[in-house]
Structures are given as C-alpha cells and as structure tokens.
C-alpha cells in the first residue's frame, strides 16, 4: 500500500467508524477526581464586584478563593465536567460564565468543600463526602 492510499484508507476509516467509537468512549468513561494543578491559584474566581447580581453568593465564592488547591482536586457531579475547558470544581467558579452562579450542585459541592476544609479535613476526605452526597 502506498503512502497516499494508506492516508486515504485512514481518512475513510476515521470518518466511518472512528468518530462514533471515540464519541462512545467519551460518554461511557467514568473519570476520577482531577489532580490539583501545580501552582493553581484563584485569580480567575469571580469577585464580589463580578457577582453584583448575586450578592448572596459572594461568601461562597470567597470561601472557594481561599482553597483553590483543594477545589481544583474535586470533580463536579452536575455534568459540567463533560464540557470543553472544564478541569475541576474550581472551573465552576471561574470567569464570566462560571456555572456556580446558577447551578445548585456546583454551589452545594463548593459549600461542603469550604466547610470541611475549614474543619481540617484532607482533600481525600472532602472527595469522599462530596461523592457520598452528590455522586
């Protein structure tokens, strides 16, 4: 088989079989909690000024801002973890489209994480509690 025909064959194979297979793998995968990224900060977490339409959420976002190294190691169970660019529960609290502005699951998981972190629980213990309640 020539180089060109191998390329043609691979293109056809990907179009007819590969994409559905890849899609199915993505749907069925059961990802674990993410590993907190080295040097992660809370600089993208929304501030009080950015939460002017939801002032009741300011204490929650402030609490998350204090523990980015913890929240970045938690998988969100609301389904947003499937979105492109989403890494961890911390992603739910970042930038203008932060899902925790509207999603009660992102909010609940964040509140549990903040409370348990303040109580001195480890990341693993917090993961267990969040999985037990929301998983």
């Amino acid at each position: 088989m020539t180089h060109a025909s191998r390329r043609e064959f691979a293109t056809l194979l990907l179009a007819l079989t590969g994409l559905p297979v890849l899609r199915r793998l993505g749907v069925n995968a059961q990802p674990a909690h993410p590993t907190p990224r080295a040097g992660i900060t809370a600089r993208k977490v929304l501030t009080a000024a950015e939460l002017s339409k939801s002032p009741q959420l300011v204490p929650l976002f402030d609490g998350v801002r204090e523990i980015p190294h913890i929240v970045d190691g938690i998988r969100c169970h609301c389904g947003c973890a499937e979105f492109n660019g989403h890494y961890s529960l911390l992603s739910c609290y970042e930038e203008a489209n932060a899902m925790a502005q509207i999603c009660p699951i992102c909010q609940g998981e964040g509140r549990v994480a903040v409370r348990l972190a303040k109580a001195g629980k480890t990341l693993d213990e917090i993961r267990v509690a969040i999985d037990a309640q929301f998983g």
């Binding site: 060109a4 390329r7 043609e8 293109t11 056809l12 179009a15 007819l16 009660p104 699951i105 909010q107 609940g108 509140r111 549990v112 409370r115 267990v128 509690a129 999985d131 037990a132 309640q133 929301f134």
Partner: protein
C-alpha cells in the same frame, strides 16, 4: 488518476457518505419505524432500541409465517432489537452483565418463553441465530390473550419499584413480561456492631433560634439504623438511616408505618438530607444538612440507647 485528484475524490465521497447517513432517520417512511425506550431505576438504565412492526390489517399473526411457533424471533423488525444495560441487572432471575445485546425470543404456544440475549448485538432480523453458549437465556412469561390489542409491537416498563420493575413486550394480543432488579447503590442494612455507636436519643437545636426543639431517636431495627423525630414528623415518619460514607448517612423514606413493617425504601433523600454523626468516647453528636450544605439541626446525645 493523479494523486491529488484521487485524494479530493476520497474526501468528497466521505462527505457524501456522512451526509447520507445523517439524513436516513428522517427521510424515509418505514413499515416498522424506529423507537427507543429507556427506564432508569436507582442509577441503572435499561434501554431498548427496536423497530416497530405494525399489524397493517393482519390478524392472528402468531403461529403463521409472520411469526412461527418455535422460531428464534427478534421482538421487532429490520435490525434485531437491542437491549443496552448501563450496569449489571438481574433479569427474570438471571444475571445479565452491563452491555449491549440483541434480543431474541423462542416463540412458543405455551406461556413459558425463553428470551435469548446475544452479545452479538448488530444482526438483521432474518438472521435467526441458533441458541449458543455465548447467549444469556432468560425465562419469560407469555400470554397469548392479553385484554387489549397493540397494533404496533411495543416495549414498555409497566411497573417500577425502588429496586427494579417489569419489562414488557406486546404485539397484537401476545404479551411477554419479565421482572428485573438492579444493583442497589445504597442499602438500609448495617451490621449491628457498627450501628451500636450511633444508637440513642439526641436533643436537637434549631440553628435559626438556637433553642432546643425536639429529639432524634436512633434505633436498630430490621437489620439497619432507623430514625424518628419527637415530636413525630408526619412526612418522614420512621425513616432509614442509610450509610453513604464513614459516619455520614442519608434518609430513606418508607411508604407508611404499616409498609415499613415489612416494606422497602421508596425514596432516598440524597443529596437533600445528609446526617453526620460524630462519636468520641462515649459522647456523640449529630448534625443534618441539605443540598446547599445548609444546617437543618445539630444535636447531642443524651441517652446512649433507648
């Protein structure tokens, strides 16, 4: 043919193929249209995808060339009907592992039929596979005289419980049913030795008023922890405390005090009602929180057992 022209032709053919495959579902009238029905019970989903043959004026189709007695028949049309399970399921008392199967039935004149689940799920209805060891055999009940007529072959889930339900297939007056149970995600059972640490009467404090306003009585009955509020909560009544993590429980509801006497949990209030016990030495405390982590109550044990 130059390489670049041939390359362009391949890309064009690929695009045409993709376009055609995307239009098939909507652009063609079929004698047996496609349907998908899915039922989720306790996180396990059973999905049946099948084409629905219609009677089209025919009657008494069973035992004729449409569906012959003794035939290994797929309850559908076109491609064999497919059952997809998201987790392991007990179907008619037979364990069926998570996966995707083509559905076949050995059609019989009596009421005991056999459902064959073939891991080779992509088959045409005329393939009529011979029963073999790779298939899972499930005994199912059939009636040839159902009270109503289904013009189009229909799969349904007519009954659902906390732990399972019934799958049914009907065409004309022939109806086949098979019970299923799912793998429970939680149990209300707990070893008595583990439960003992939590037993007793807890005086509760209302976080809004800071005042004591009732008790939580935790007992061990029927192999698990049970909770009751004093004064009695008419919605929760006597409820199951179902362990979800070390010292962390959620609430399982029973239909009524009468059903509780031998019944099963019909709803689990997770993530809306989570109860954490803290036991240190002989002292124990409790707190309950909601899905937003709001504190419902906290309390301290005043009597270790009732």
């Amino acid at each position: 043919m130059p390489g670049s022209t041939r390359w362009s032709l391949v890309v064009l053919c690929t695009l045409v193929l993709l376009a055609i495959s995307g239009r098939q579902a909507t652009a063609q009238i079929k004698a047996s249209e496609l349907q998908t029905i899915a039922q989720t019970v306790d996180g396990t989903t059973l999905k049946v995808t099948y084409s629905r043959p219609r009677l089209r004026g025919r009657s008494n189709i069973w035992g004729t060339r449409v569906v012959q007695w003794g035939e290994v028949w797929t309850p559908g049309a076109n491609d064999a009907s497919v059952l997809e399970l998201s987790h392991d399921v007990m179907l008619g008392g037979t364990k069926v592992p998570k996966g995707k199967y083509s559905i076949w039935m050995v059609v019989s004149q009596d009421t005991s039929w056999t459902m064959l689940l073939d891991p080779k799920w992509k088959q045409f209805h005329t393939d009529h596979p011979k029963p073999n060891d790779s298939m899972i055999r499930v005994p199912v009940s059939a009636t040839l005289q159902a009270p109503t007529v289904e013009d189009a072959l229909t799969w349904t889930f007519p009954s659902i419980s906390a732990r399972g339900g019934t799958m049914a297939m009907q065409w004309e007056r022939t109806r086949v049913t098979v019970p299923f149970t799912v793998t429970p995600t939680l149990t209300d059972l707990l070893p008595e030795a583990e439960a003992r640490a939590y037993l007793g009467s807890y005086v509760l404090t209302n976080p809004k008023t800071g005042k004591e306003d009732g008790k939580l009585i935790v007992t061990y009955e029927r192999g698990g922890l049970k909770g009751t509020f004093d004064p009695n909560d008419t919605y929760l009544q006597t409820f199951a405390l179902m362990k979800v993590a070390p010292d962390l429980f959620t609430v399982g509801l029973f239909m009524s005090a009468e059903v509780y006497a031998g019944g099963e949990v019909y709803e689990v209030l997770r993530p809306d009602f989570m109860i954490t016990f803290t036991v240190k030495g002989g002292e124990a405390s409790v707190e309950a929180r909601g899905a937003s982590d709001e504190l419902y109550f906290s309390g301290k044990r005043v009597a270790a057992s009732r």
